[in-house]
Symmetry: C2
Subunit: 144 residues, 2 copies
Amino acid sequence: MNILTKFSIARPAHEVFEAFVDPAKIGNFWFSSSSDRWEAGKTITLRYEEYNATVVIKVVEVKRNQKIVFVWEGPGEEHVVTIALQEVDEARTVIEVNEEGFSQDDPEFVSKLVDNKEGWVFVLTCLKAYLEFGVKELRAGLVK
Amino acid sequence: MNILTKFSIARPAHEVFEAFVDPAKIGNFWFSSSSDRWEAGKTITLRYEEYNATVVIKVVEVKRNQKIVFVWEGPGEEHVVTIALQEVDEARTVIEVNEEGFSQDDPEFVSKLVDNKEGWVFVLTCLKAYLEFGVKELRAGLVK
Protein backbone atom coordinates (compact mmCIF):
# COMPACT_ATOMS: atom_id res chain seq x y z
CA MET A 1 0.00 0.00 0.00
CA ASN A 2 1.20 3.52 -0.75
CA ILE A 3 0.57 7.16 0.13
CA LEU A 4 0.75 9.69 -2.70
CA THR A 5 0.99 13.45 -2.17
CA LYS A 6 1.09 15.98 -4.99
CA PHE A 7 1.76 19.73 -4.99
CA SER A 8 2.20 22.51 -7.49
CA ILE A 9 5.17 24.79 -6.79
CA ALA A 10 5.72 28.00 -8.74
CA ARG A 11 9.48 27.47 -9.22
CA PRO A 12 11.64 25.63 -11.79
CA ALA A 13 12.38 21.94 -11.17
CA HIS A 14 16.08 22.44 -10.40
CA GLU A 15 15.22 24.64 -7.41
CA VAL A 16 12.82 22.03 -6.04
CA PHE A 17 15.43 19.31 -6.61
CA GLU A 18 18.22 21.25 -4.89
CA ALA A 19 16.04 21.93 -1.85
CA PHE A 20 16.11 18.18 -1.10
CA VAL A 21 19.63 17.16 -2.12
CA ASP A 22 21.61 20.19 -0.87
CA PRO A 23 22.28 19.87 2.90
CA ALA A 24 22.40 23.66 3.18
CA LYS A 25 18.75 23.91 2.07
CA ILE A 26 16.84 21.11 3.77
CA GLY A 27 16.72 22.98 7.10
CA ASN A 28 14.56 25.65 5.49
CA PHE A 29 11.53 23.38 5.15
CA TRP A 30 12.11 19.87 6.58
CA PHE A 31 14.84 18.26 8.69
CA SER A 32 17.26 20.40 10.69
CA SER A 33 20.23 18.80 8.97
CA SER A 34 21.30 16.31 6.33
CA SER A 35 24.75 14.70 6.63
CA ASP A 36 25.74 14.88 2.96
CA ARG A 37 24.58 15.82 -0.53
CA TRP A 38 22.06 13.23 -1.74
CA GLU A 39 23.57 11.02 -4.44
CA ALA A 40 22.77 7.47 -5.55
CA GLY A 41 24.35 4.87 -3.28
CA LYS A 42 24.92 7.21 -0.34
CA THR A 43 23.61 6.70 3.17
CA ILE A 44 22.41 9.97 4.68
CA THR A 45 21.65 10.81 8.28
CA LEU A 46 18.79 13.24 8.73
CA ARG A 47 18.26 14.97 12.04
CA TYR A 48 15.11 16.72 13.27
CA GLU A 49 16.22 18.60 16.39
CA GLU A 50 12.77 19.91 17.41
CA TYR A 51 11.30 16.37 17.55
CA ASN A 52 14.59 14.81 18.76
CA ALA A 53 14.50 12.37 15.85
CA THR A 54 17.20 10.85 13.68
CA VAL A 55 16.41 9.08 10.42
CA VAL A 56 18.87 7.21 8.23
CA ILE A 57 18.05 6.88 4.54
CA LYS A 58 19.73 5.07 1.67
CA VAL A 59 19.58 6.98 -1.61
CA VAL A 60 18.78 4.48 -4.36
CA GLU A 61 18.40 6.60 -7.47
CA VAL A 62 18.88 10.21 -8.47
CA LYS A 63 17.96 11.73 -11.83
CA ARG A 64 19.02 15.35 -11.71
CA ASN A 65 15.99 17.70 -11.49
CA GLN A 66 13.60 14.82 -12.17
CA LYS A 67 13.59 12.05 -9.62
CA ILE A 68 14.92 10.92 -6.24
CA VAL A 69 14.32 7.46 -4.81
CA PHE A 70 15.34 6.55 -1.28
CA VAL A 71 14.67 3.86 1.29
CA TRP A 72 14.02 4.47 4.95
CA GLU A 73 13.30 2.07 7.70
CA GLY A 74 10.37 2.34 10.02
CA PRO A 75 9.76 -0.02 12.93
CA GLY A 76 9.57 -3.47 11.33
CA GLU A 77 9.29 -2.33 7.74
CA GLU A 78 11.25 -0.72 4.96
CA HIS A 79 9.60 2.02 2.93
CA VAL A 80 10.53 3.24 -0.52
CA VAL A 81 10.00 6.94 -1.20
CA THR A 82 9.94 8.28 -4.76
CA ILE A 83 10.03 12.03 -5.32
CA ALA A 84 9.14 12.82 -8.93
CA LEU A 85 9.40 16.31 -10.42
CA GLN A 86 7.55 17.36 -13.52
CA GLU A 87 8.47 20.81 -14.79
CA VAL A 88 5.29 22.17 -16.34
CA ASP A 89 7.16 25.24 -17.56
CA GLU A 90 10.06 27.40 -16.31
CA ALA A 91 7.82 28.87 -13.65
CA ARG A 92 6.04 25.78 -12.33
CA THR A 93 6.87 22.26 -11.13
CA VAL A 94 4.52 19.53 -10.02
CA ILE A 95 6.07 17.46 -7.26
CA GLU A 96 4.73 14.01 -6.46
CA VAL A 97 5.89 12.07 -3.41
CA ASN A 98 4.97 8.40 -3.28
CA GLU A 99 5.76 6.30 -0.22
CA GLU A 100 5.35 2.53 -0.53
CA GLY A 101 5.73 -0.38 1.87
CA PHE A 102 2.82 -0.10 4.32
CA SER A 103 1.64 -3.52 5.40
CA GLN A 104 -2.10 -4.10 5.76
CA ASP A 105 -1.35 -6.81 8.34
CA ASP A 106 0.17 -4.22 10.66
CA PRO A 107 -2.27 -3.38 13.50
CA GLU A 108 -1.04 0.21 13.18
CA PHE A 109 -1.67 0.22 9.42
CA VAL A 110 -4.33 2.97 9.35
CA SER A 111 -2.60 5.27 11.84
CA LYS A 112 0.70 4.88 9.95
CA LEU A 113 -0.97 5.87 6.68
CA VAL A 114 -2.60 8.90 8.29
CA ASP A 115 0.62 9.98 10.07
CA ASN A 116 2.55 9.58 6.87
CA LYS A 117 0.08 11.70 4.93
CA GLU A 118 0.33 14.34 7.67
CA GLY A 119 4.12 14.41 7.36
CA TRP A 120 4.28 14.75 3.58
CA VAL A 121 1.57 17.40 3.31
CA PHE A 122 3.33 19.43 6.00
CA VAL A 123 6.77 19.07 4.36
CA LEU A 124 5.50 20.00 0.90
CA THR A 125 3.52 23.01 2.13
CA CYS A 126 6.63 24.21 3.99
CA LEU A 127 8.67 23.62 0.81
CA LYS A 128 6.21 25.71 -1.20
CA ALA A 129 6.34 28.54 1.36
CA TYR A 130 10.15 28.41 1.34
CA LEU A 131 10.67 28.33 -2.43
CA GLU A 132 7.87 30.72 -3.40
CA PHE A 133 8.04 33.22 -0.52
CA GLY A 134 11.34 32.64 1.27
CA VAL A 135 9.52 31.63 4.48
CA LYS A 136 11.79 29.23 6.37
CA GLU A 137 10.14 29.09 9.79
CA LEU A 138 7.02 26.96 9.31
CA ARG A 139 8.74 23.64 10.00
CA ALA A 140 8.27 22.17 13.48
CA GLY A 141 4.89 23.92 13.70
CA LEU A 142 3.08 20.60 13.75
CA VAL A 143 2.33 19.41 17.29
CA LYS A 144 2.73 15.63 17.60
CA MET B 1 -13.57 7.31 14.26
CA ASN B 2 -11.91 10.70 14.21
CA ILE B 3 -8.97 12.59 12.70
CA LEU B 4 -7.09 14.99 14.98
CA THR B 5 -4.66 17.63 13.71
CA LYS B 6 -2.73 19.97 15.96
CA PHE B 7 -0.55 23.00 15.18
CA SER B 8 1.30 25.68 17.05
CA ILE B 9 0.77 29.21 15.70
CA ALA B 10 2.79 32.16 16.94
CA ARG B 11 -0.17 34.53 17.21
CA PRO B 12 -2.79 35.29 19.89
CA ALA B 13 -5.97 33.17 19.94
CA HIS B 14 -8.28 35.97 18.80
CA GLU B 15 -6.36 36.29 15.53
CA VAL B 16 -6.63 32.56 14.88
CA PHE B 17 -10.34 32.64 15.76
CA GLU B 18 -11.08 35.60 13.47
CA ALA B 19 -9.30 33.95 10.54
CA PHE B 20 -12.06 31.30 10.52
CA VAL B 21 -15.18 33.28 11.45
CA ASP B 22 -14.54 36.48 9.47
CA PRO B 23 -15.56 36.02 5.80
CA ALA B 24 -12.98 38.65 4.78
CA LYS B 25 -10.15 36.46 6.10
CA ILE B 26 -10.91 32.87 5.14
CA GLY B 27 -9.76 33.43 1.53
CA ASN B 28 -6.23 34.04 2.77
CA PHE B 29 -5.68 30.41 3.78
CA TRP B 30 -8.67 28.15 3.01
CA PHE B 31 -11.91 28.57 1.04
CA SER B 32 -12.26 31.36 -1.54
CA SER B 33 -15.34 32.68 0.22
CA SER B 34 -17.64 32.25 3.21
CA SER B 35 -21.24 33.51 2.95
CA ASP B 36 -21.49 35.05 6.41
CA ARG B 37 -19.74 35.54 9.74
CA TRP B 38 -19.69 32.22 11.63
CA GLU B 39 -22.10 32.30 14.58
CA ALA B 40 -23.94 29.53 16.40
CA GLY B 41 -27.09 28.42 14.56
CA LYS B 42 -26.07 29.87 11.19
CA THR B 43 -25.80 27.92 7.96
CA ILE B 44 -22.76 29.02 5.96
CA THR B 45 -21.93 28.37 2.32
CA LEU B 46 -18.21 27.92 1.65
CA ARG B 47 -16.90 28.09 -1.89
CA TYR B 48 -13.54 26.83 -3.16
CA GLU B 49 -13.24 28.30 -6.67
CA GLU B 50 -9.98 26.56 -7.62
CA TYR B 51 -11.44 23.09 -6.96
CA ASN B 52 -14.96 24.10 -8.12
CA ALA B 53 -16.38 22.94 -4.80
CA THR B 54 -19.19 24.22 -2.60
CA VAL B 55 -19.61 23.08 0.99
CA VAL B 56 -22.49 23.96 3.30
CA ILE B 57 -21.85 23.87 7.03
CA LYS B 58 -24.08 24.36 10.05
CA VAL B 59 -22.35 26.19 12.91
CA VAL B 60 -23.34 24.44 16.14
CA GLU B 61 -21.33 26.22 18.82
CA VAL B 62 -19.03 29.22 19.04
CA LYS B 63 -17.05 30.25 22.11
CA ARG B 64 -15.24 33.47 21.23
CA ASN B 65 -11.48 32.89 20.80
CA GLN B 66 -11.78 29.37 22.20
CA LYS B 67 -13.93 26.98 20.23
CA ILE B 68 -15.92 26.50 17.04
CA VAL B 69 -18.06 23.43 16.37
CA PHE B 70 -19.70 22.84 12.99
CA VAL B 71 -21.33 20.04 11.06
CA TRP B 72 -20.73 19.30 7.43
CA GLU B 73 -22.13 16.61 5.25
CA GLY B 74 -20.08 14.28 3.16
CA PRO B 75 -21.56 11.70 0.81
CA GLY B 76 -23.72 9.51 3.05
CA GLU B 77 -22.41 10.77 6.36
CA GLU B 78 -22.45 13.79 8.62
CA HIS B 79 -19.18 14.89 10.21
CA VAL B 80 -18.71 17.06 13.28
CA VAL B 81 -15.66 19.34 13.27
CA THR B 82 -14.39 20.89 16.51
CA ILE B 83 -11.77 23.62 16.32
CA ALA B 84 -10.29 24.23 19.77
CA LEU B 85 -7.89 27.08 20.54
CA GLN B 86 -5.61 27.10 23.52
CA GLU B 87 -3.73 30.35 24.02
CA VAL B 88 -0.39 29.33 25.53
CA ASP B 89 0.56 32.98 25.98
CA GLU B 90 -0.07 36.26 24.11
CA ALA B 91 2.33 35.18 21.40
CA ARG B 92 1.29 31.55 20.85
CA THR B 93 -1.86 29.51 20.29
CA VAL B 94 -2.22 25.77 19.92
CA ILE B 95 -5.01 24.91 17.50
CA GLU B 96 -6.54 21.47 17.48
CA VAL B 97 -8.98 20.36 14.78
CA ASN B 98 -10.92 17.19 15.44
CA GLU B 99 -13.20 15.71 12.78
CA GLU B 100 -15.55 12.92 13.84
CA GLY B 101 -18.06 10.73 12.03
CA PHE B 102 -16.02 8.41 9.81
CA SER B 103 -17.68 5.02 9.51
CA GLN B 104 -15.47 1.94 9.56
CA ASP B 105 -18.11 0.11 7.50
CA ASP B 106 -17.55 2.49 4.61
CA PRO B 107 -15.46 0.80 1.86
CA GLU B 108 -13.77 4.19 1.40
CA PHE B 109 -13.01 4.48 5.13
CA VAL B 110 -9.20 4.49 4.89
CA SER B 111 -8.99 6.79 1.88
CA LYS B 112 -11.46 9.21 3.51
CA LEU B 113 -9.31 9.36 6.67
CA VAL B 114 -6.16 9.97 4.65
CA ASP B 115 -7.81 12.63 2.42
CA ASN B 116 -9.19 14.33 5.47
CA LYS B 117 -5.81 14.42 7.18
CA GLU B 118 -4.34 15.88 3.98
CA GLY B 119 -6.94 18.63 3.95
CA TRP B 120 -6.51 19.72 7.57
CA VAL B 121 -2.70 19.68 7.54
CA PHE B 122 -2.75 21.78 4.38
CA VAL B 123 -5.28 24.27 5.77
CA LEU B 124 -3.46 24.67 9.08
CA THR B 125 -0.04 25.11 7.46
CA CYS B 126 -1.53 27.76 5.15
CA LEU B 127 -3.14 29.40 8.21
CA LYS B 128 0.24 29.48 9.98
CA ALA B 129 1.93 31.02 6.92
CA TYR B 130 -0.84 33.63 6.65
CA LEU B 131 -0.96 34.64 10.31
CA GLU B 132 2.78 34.50 11.02
CA PHE B 133 4.19 35.76 7.71
CA GLY B 134 1.31 37.36 5.81
CA VAL B 135 1.62 34.77 3.01
CA LYS B 136 -1.83 34.37 1.44
CA GLU B 137 -1.06 32.46 -1.75
CA LEU B 138 -0.32 28.89 -0.61
CA ARG B 139 -3.93 27.69 -0.77
CA ALA B 140 -4.90 25.71 -3.87
CA GLY B 141 -1.30 24.47 -4.15
CA LEU B 142 -2.36 20.92 -3.41
CA VAL B 143 -2.95 18.90 -6.58
CA LYS B 144 -5.92 16.54 -6.20
